[in-house]
């Protein structure tokens, strides 16, 4: 799995790490059950703080792409399909676009809810 972070970018480093994993799942280069590198090792590889890596992993866990087990590290979940990863990417784009348009959280949620009810 290829991890890449650009310290000059405005995107937080933890999010960039999460994006690397999401992209790998979307492209199908990692399969469910595959383990992610230990946070400490990845932090040393990329030259970032270990908490930054853990923030990225936490984010992936909230998205349901990885599971974190104490002492066993992080692994891709059984439900992490390329389709799901691509859907997550699109959700992020929608949220970013809505923010650019100056929409409030409620306005965006209403739009999504209307689409769901339709």
């Amino acid at each position: 799995m290829l991890f890449r972070v650009d310290p000059t970018s405005t995107v937080p480093l933890g999010d960039q790490i999460a994006a690397s994993v999401r992209r790998a799942v979307a492209e199908g280069t990692v399969a469910p059950g595959e383990r992610l590198p230990a946070a400490r090792a990845l932090a040393a590889s990329l030259g970032v703080n270990v908490h930054t890596v853990l923030r990225g992993y936490q984010r992936l866990r909230e998205e349901g792409l990885i599971e974190l087990r104490r002492g066993r590290g992080a692994a891709i979940t059984a439900g992490a399909s390329p389709q799901r990863a691509r859907l997550l990417e699109r959700v992020r784009e929608v949220v970013a676009d809505a923010r650019d348009l100056g929409m409030t959280e409620d306005e965006l949620l209403t739009l999504v809810r209307n689409e769901l009810d339709a």
């Binding site: 991890f3 972070v5 000059t8 280069t29 590198p37 590889s45 990329l46 030259g47």
Partner: protein, 322 residues
């Protein structure tokens, strides 16, 4: 299997079949003069200390040539040997077949007309020297014959390797990692541990303890992880140490290509050979790094193309002084 391959397989099995044929012919010649009970095992001085019935000897000992012949044929098919390794392999087969074939029949002959119709008292030691001489002669003959059969092509010389790069923005940092677990590693550790404990209890803990320590070190490498990053190529186990790391400074270029564990590295595990070393868990795709020292370092790993591409990208960047 191609016809070319078939020739080499036949050549690998040939000496064993020949030895069996000669032994059976010689046996038929002396069959009537053999006792029912043969001396088949001899101590260091050549005196007989082990006995077997004639029937059992024929049933269990001579077929060992067939088993070895099948083993040699199997390696010829699956081993992927080439070049000098193949010549040694064929020559070695002839030597083993001659040595074994000679001794098997020598045992029969010393028992011919044994004292009072019983087994022989011993095996004159010059038979060992004669067997070794026969092995050397046959080995040389095998090596010569192997020149006549077409050599298998060297799998290490593929076409021009494609060396891709990964596009990185200025200042962007990248790392690539992949696990290389092998199913046999935990088995090997358990076997080593068992051997260590057994050796310690039965023989001496001076043998057992080093074996157990070796098993534990191997154990930390049960699920190794390969990392490519700004520090180079690293293979690490469960613990931070021990690990194998090749820094970027020592690399020329990285390739992704298939390697053959047996033919190129002589086996599996952490291999060190005259021209190359590597962490080899299987035959198949690998990151192969050409080092500035002229040697090669290989790691068998899935998605090796991405790992090699990142290594080349990092090497470019380092040479550009960034």
């Amino acid at each position: 299997m191609t016809s070319k391959n078939l020739g080499r397989v036949a050549l690998a099995a040939l000496p064993f079949l020949l030895a069996l044929f000669i032994d059976l012919t010689l046996y038929a010649a002396v069959e009537d003069r053999l006792p029912d009970r043969l001396a088949v095992h001899f101590d260091a001085g050549g005196s007989a200390d082990g006995f077997m019935s004639l029937g059992a000897y024929l049933l269990f000992t001579l077929p060992s040539l067939l088993v070895l012949g099948a083993l040699w044929a199997f390696i010829a098919v699956r081993g992927g040997l080439h070049g000098r390794a193949d010549r040694w392999f064929i020559g070695g087969g002839f030597a083993v077949a001659a040595f074994l074939g000679y001794l098997l029949v020598a045992v029969l002959f010393v028992n011919v007309d044994g004292p009072e119709g019983g087994p022989a008292d011993g095996l004159p030691l010059w038979h060992i020297a004669a067997a070794l001489a026969a092995a050397a002669l046959a080995g040389a003959l095998g090596a010569l014959l192997s020149r006549s059969a077409p050599l298998p092509e060297d799998p290490r010389r593929p076409g021009p390797a494609t060396r891709e790069r990964i596009l990185l923005a200025d200042g962007e940092v990248a790392a690539w990692g992949c696990g290389i677990g092998a199913w046999w590693a935990p088995v090997a550790v358990l076997v080593l541990l068992a051997a260590g404990v057994t050796a310690g209890r039965e023989q001496s803990w001076f043998i057992g303890v080093p074996l157990i320590l070796f098993a534990l070190v191997t154990g930390t490498f049960c699920r190794p992880h390969v990392t490519v990053d700004r520090r180079g190529l690293t293979v690490s186990g469960l613990l931070p140490r021990p690990r194998v790391r090749v820094p970027l400074e020592r690399m020329e270029i990285a390739d992704s290509r298939p390697v053959n564990a047996l033919a190129e590295y002589g086996g599996w595990g952490y291999r060190i050979r005259p021209e190359r070393s590597g962490v080899i868990t299987r035959s198949g795709e690998a990151i192969v790094v050409s080092l500035t020292s002229g040697r090669e370092f290989a790691v068998t790993v899935a998605d090796s193309a991405t790992g090699a591409a990142l290594l080349n990208t990092l090497l470019d960047r380092q040479r550009a002084g960034r």
